[in-house]
Each structure stands twice: as structure tokens, then as C-alpha cells.
Amino acid sequence: MEHDEQELVAALLRSTPPPDVRGDFLARVNARIDAAARPRSGEPAAGWLPLVDFRVWTLRLATAAVALALVALFWRAAPSAAGAPAVESTAAAVTPASTFSPACSSDWQRDVSGDALLDAALSPKGAGDAR
């Protein structure tokens, strides 16, 4: 009995009249597919979308930051490699070896050689002050 009722309900459901499909159903499906494939009016063009995407900006800025860091690194390395000997030779040329006195404030304002500093440190107190 139960089995018969099950079968009858199934048969009733199977006999459900088919739905009335609107005549323009296919046309509307195609219209939606086409609409999804192209940008809607009033929307920015696909080419502009990446410009308002913060992720794109972040990525680009990171690239620019790395580029700037590399430029700065080379900028610092190049002058120091080429200019260091010139500075050293200039300092050596203008600094008299034995004229530094720690007590003379003007002596701290100019470049002195390492030998002059060593002499000043080892000389007895007052020797430089006698100048």
C-alpha cells in the first residue's frame, strides 16, 4: 500500500505540466551574456579599471621604491669611489703636520693629519699651548 502511494505521488509529480517558457527567454539569456562580456554604459572602460585598483598602485609603488633605492645606492657608491682620494690628498696638502693644538679652538675647525693628532696627544701638557 505504502509502495503504491509512493509510486502514485511520483507519477503525479512526473505529470507536472511543463512551465511556460517565455518566447524571449533565449534572447534575454544572450543579451545577458553579451552584457557581461562588455562594460556597461557609465562604467569606466576596462582599461581604466586597474588605475583605481589600490593593489595595482601598491605594486607599482613598490617597484618604484626598489628602483629609487637602487639609484640611491649607486649614487652613493659612485662619488665615494671616485672622490675619496681627492679629498684625502686635499686634506693632506693643507694640513701642516705639527701645528695642531687641542687647546686652540680654531684648530678643531680645520682638517689635521693623523700624525698631528698623535703628536698633540703625546706631547707634554702645555707644549701646544705655548704657541
Binding site: 502511494e5 502514485l8 503525479l12 509529480l13 507536472t16 505540466p17 512551465p19 517558457v21 544572450n30 551574456i33
Partner: protein, 189 residues
């Protein structure tokens, strides 16, 4: 063998004509499924269209592991569930109104006395709408859509035994709800 195989291959290669034929073949089934799953919510037609739009977009991912028709049902279930999740609150309000008898009349009500076919379909729709989702979906896939038990089990990701049990219980609940049709059928037979 899948009767849609050649059309699917052509559509996947970009043929809109082949896809149009697939739409023609399955539009009725998708509309029925959407209408039952939405329990007469009124947007079944839009959802059925959405099924085909999604199918067109995803057609390249269809590997032919199942029949195209079964795959299309999976797309339809996902589309309807996504839609229900989006406006779940509205749907709950609608369900509450329906239970308290405050639901707005279906426009088809006016034609009930005129069109027997429409009345029959409406009665079945209402009976199915009275079922909980977990019973409505399997019995719809089986008795209205004609899918095999194993396909339904795969679609719902449950064992076949669970599918059989749910369909059995669904039919039990539908039996009194379909009483008017039952009597008509018995008189006719």
C-alpha cells in the same frame, strides 16, 4: 552516452549557435527547478537565465565527468542557493507571511478556475513549497527532473541511501497535499 556531448564541445569552442540549442533543450527543466527551489518567489525566470549565463562562462571547465544535464543542475542549485543566501532575510519574511496566510496572491490564482493545467501545476508547486528544503530538492530532482539516484547523491553530496530516504519522506508528506489530484487520477483510472 550524453546526448548533449557534441553541442557542448562546440559551445565550449565558442559556438553560440550550439549553446543556443543547449538553452532550448534545457530551459524548461531549469525554469521548473528554479521555480520549485524558490518556492514561488517570483524570480525563477531571472534565476533560470542566470543559470545559462553561468553555464556559458564555466563551460570550458566542464570536463564531461557527468552528463551536461546533470552538470547544469549543479550550476542551477548553486545559482539558487547563492541567490537565497543573498536575500535570506527577505525570504524568511516571505515564508513567515506565507505560513500565516498573508502571502500576496499569485497572479496565476485568477486563472485557476479557467485553466485546469495551470491549476494542476500550481497545486503541485504549492505542495512542493510546503516541504523543507532538504526534502524538496531531492524529490524535485528525481520526480520532476528525472535524475538518477546516483546523480542526485553526487549533486547533494550525500549517500544514495540518504537520497532514497529523503525522497520517501517527501512523497509521504506530499501525499495528503496532492489529495485533489490523487482523487482525479483515481477517478480517471
Amino acid at each position: 552516452m550524453d546526448p548533449d556531448r557534441e553541442l557542448v564541445a562546440a559551445a565550449a569552442a565558442g559556438s553560440r549557435e550550439a549553446f543556443d540549442e543547449l538553452v532550448r533543450r534545457h530551459q524548461g527543466a531549469m525554469l521548473t527547478l528554479a521555480r520549485v527551489l524558490t518556492a514561488g518567489r517570483g524570480d525563477a525566470d531571472d534565476l533560470a537565465q542566470d543559470v545559462f549565463v553561468r553555464a556559458w562562462r564555466s563551460l570550458r571547465t566542464f570536463r564531461g565527468d557527468s552528463a551536461f544535464r546533470t552538470w547544469l543542475h549543479r550550476v542551477a542549485i548553486n545559482v539558487v542557493r547563492t541567490s537565497q543566501a543573498k536575500d535570506g532575510r527577505w525570504r524568511r519574511l516571505f515564508a513567515a507571511a506565507r505560513e500565516s496566510g498573508e502571502a500576496p496572491d499569485d497572479p496565476a490564482d485568477e486563472a485557476e478556475g479557467v485553466d485546469a493545467v495551470l491549476a494542476r501545476r500550481q497545486l503541485i508547486d504549492r505542495a512542493l513549497a510546503a516541504l523543507p528544503d532538504e526534502l524538496r530538492l531531492p524529490v524535485t530532482l528525481r520526480d520532476l527532473q528525472g535524475l538518477e539516484y546516483k546523480d542526485i547523491a553526487a549533486l547533494l553530496d550525500v549517500p544514495i541511501g540518504t537520497v532514497e530516504s529523503r525522497i520517501f519522506r517527501a512523497r509521504q508528506r506530499l501525499r495528503p497535499l496532492l489529495e485533489p489530484l490523487w482523487n482525479t487520477t483515481n477517478r480517471n483510472s
